[in-house]
């Protein structure tokens, strides 16, 4: 009974801290959609006027669509590949008997903390040593490395929350490991798989550093933005583009988190 009281006492401080944190994090980002509506070429207050013209202008730029297509291609393949790779990895990591489980988990999660720059350079060195030409494939490869920890950390609680005796019941009713996976395990982790697909797609779609090092002649959207930053007259329409990406990313991440939580109480209902 002592703990809730402690939490209550600090509730206001905590809430204030959380709000301050959110302001610090998101207010700068809010300037992007705000100035994307500014009719003037320069970003300053007071704003010159409100316009959707920069958004309209985006549609006249052919390279934007090429980049968008590239990003979608890379994003979809990365989402699929990293999720497919993460499912068996998370399954193995969730089983208590795996020797060296902790170091392996740490190793898999490493890309979350190692600077993208380091990984980008390292991959670039390896890839050029192997004589593989830089292309969207190499970008996708880099993105899979970045996305795997995200996919695993979404899937791992799914497996850990799963009721072990359901798989035993399946075996008991005559299904081998393969069929047990598809008939029992997979349906129970499915929301996690969807969440992982959405999140990894978003991470790949927004990723810049790996793309910077590993892309060839085809640019992803973030790369396109980077190359256009030099031209002041295109800056407002880049803000418009960024705003669109921002909204899409937020939506996808929220959707992903919703799926990640979905049905979690359901399965624990029947677990020990």
């Amino acid at each position: 009974m002592a703990e809730p009281q402690i939490f209550n006492r600090h509730n206001r401080t905590l809430a204030a801290y959380a709000i301050g944190f959110a302001v610090f994090l998101y207010v700068p980002i809010l300037f992007i959609p705000l100035f994307s509506l500014n009719s003037g070429l320069y970003q300053r207050f007071p704003m010159d006027g409100i316009t959707l013209g920069w958004y309209a202008q985006l549609f006249t730029r052919g390279p934007v669509f090429d980049a968008l297509q590239n990003s979608l291609q890379v994003g979809l393949s990365v989402a699929l590949l990293s999720t497919v790779l993460a499912v068996p990895a998370a399954k193995a990591l969730s089983r208590a008997v795996l020797p060296g489980k902790r170091p392996i988990t740490g190793f898999v999660m490493l890309p979350l903390v190692v600077p993208g720059l380091v990984f980008g350079v390292a991959l670039l060195v390896v890839i050029s040593r192997l004589g593989v030409p830089l292309s969207l494939y190499t970008v996708a490869l880099g993105h899979v490395v970045v996305c795997l920890p995200f996919a695993i950390s979404i899937l791992l609680p799914r497996f850990e929350g799963a009721n072990r005796s359901l798989e035993e019941a399946s075996a008991d009713l005559g299904e081998n490991g393969w069929w047990t996976f598809w008939r029992v395990t997979f349906p129970n982790i499915l929301p996690g798989v969807v969440a992982s697909l959405l999140l990894t797609f978003t991470v790949s779609f927004d990723e810049f550093i790996m793309a910077f090092f590993l892309s060839g002649t085809d640019a992803t959207l973030p790369m396109y933005i980077w190359t256009q930053l030099r031209f002041p007259q295109s800056f407002p329409s880049l803000l418009a583009l960024s705003s669109l990406i921002l909204v899409a990313s937020f939506a996808l991440v929220f959707l992903s988190l919703w799926f990640a939580r979905m049905g979690r109480t359901d399965t624990s209902l029947v677990s020990r």
Partner: protein, 357 residues
């Protein structure tokens, strides 16, 4: 049907099952009875193939099980928590094991309907698992296993989560079902009443080992040691010492010297032993009925529905002696109240001599 030979199971340093040997016959309702932690579940899981034996062997229906994985064993199990698939409805749960058998869909539906009838849940086929009560989940788990017509059905405390009334109803249903289908049932339970009412034979387990295997009557009337006697029904225990000079006798705490009817098993002079008497084998008297009777004071009276239990304090003993009285009793019994003096007698052949401890 099932032959368990010197099976031992260790988890690291913990020996969960020690050198268990059991023969379970075809068509038998066999129970593993023991306190929590006595190794019942572990033994059952070894039968199902979820745990490997550390040493010993298990033979089911003439086939050694050593290298047979769970999905290939001629056995099905009802799990302690039912393990109903939450993403499937009742119908698909019951039909789960049929996929592998290549049975045409219409036939499958027919079999499922038959099972729904058997477990008295017709019309529940489209319910989801989380719309079922505990008792209903238990029946679905049963149907899901029985539809595969296993040779042996394993049940791990299947009624443990149910309330008393439902539990007694399901006990009866289980017994009838088993007799109707003729399948071998192996039931795990810590509830002696459940084991006694359901089983053909019971193995009493303690600390991983089997202490005694017998019929319910056998366990009740001829417990081999104090552990079993204490576990099955109510029993009055008296510390005793064997005397063999002249007539074999025991010196019993609170009862004095008593003759033995040749049941001391040749225990040497001076051996510590335990004398056990069932509450229903004691008779109460208002006055001294003759030599050998023991005087005591009524301490408490307990009504248990159709019978009552009197607790009588006797000199030289800390725990009162329990005396069971069937039915309402005569005028003397109904006049009894705490503090009253009474006399106790018993027939000599109702006395059991067990090892001490």
């Amino acid at each position: 049907m099932i032959s368990i030979r010197n099976v031992t199971k260790s988890f690291g340093r913990v020996q969960a099952v020690r050198d268990v040997s059991l023969q379970i016959r075809a068509g038998e309702f066999f129970s593993l009875l023991g306190a929590s932690g006595s190794g019942k579940t572990t033994l059952l899981r070894m039968l199902a193939g979820f745990e490997a034996v550390t040493s010993g062997s298990i033979v089911i229906d003439g086939q050694a099980m050593e290298s047979v994985p769970p999905h290939n064993r001629p056995i099905n199990m009802v799990f302690q928590n039912y393990a109903i698939f939450p993403h499937l409805n009742v119908r698909d749960n019951i039909a789960y094991g049929l996929r592998r058998l290549n049975i045409p869909k219409p036939k499958q539906a027919e079999m499922v309907d038959e099972m729904l009838g058997l477990i008295a849940l017709p019309g529940y086929g489209d319910r989801r698992a989380n719309q079922l009560s505990g008792g209903q989940m238990q029946r679905v788990a049963l149907a899901r296993a029985l539809i595969l017509k296993p040779k042996v059905l394993l049940l791990d405390e299947p009624l443990g989560a149910l309330d008393k009334q439902l539990r007694e109803q399901m006990q009866l249903e289980l017994r009838l079902l088993q007799q109707r289908l003729g399948i071998t049932f192996v039931l795990v339970t810590h509830d002696q009443e459940e084991a006694l009412t359901l089983s053909d034979r019971i193995a009493v387990m303690a600390q991983g080992a089997v202490v005694q295997v017998d019929t319910p009557t056998g366990l009740y009337e001829r417990p081999q040691n104090r552990t079993v006697a204490a576990f099955i029904g109510t029993m009055n225990f008296f510390d005793a010492v064997v005397h063999r000079q002249g007539m074999p006798e025991v010196q019993v705490q609170g009862l004095g010297r008593r003759r033995l009817n040749g049941q001391d098993g040749g225990r040497p002079d001076g051996t510590a032993a335990t004398v056990a008497i069932r509450p229903e084998n004691l008779t109460l008297h208002s006055t001294q009925p003759g030599p050998g009777a023991v005087e005591g004071v009524v301490q408490a009276q307990q009504y248990l529905g159709g019978r009552q239990m009197l607790h009588v304090a006797i000199p030289g003993r800390t725990t009162p002696v329990a005396v069971a009285i069937q039915g309402p009793g005569d005028a003397f019994i109904s006049s009894l109240s705490p503090g009253q003096n009474v006399w106790l007698t018993w027939k000599d052949d109702a006395v059991l001599l067990l090892d001490a401890g």
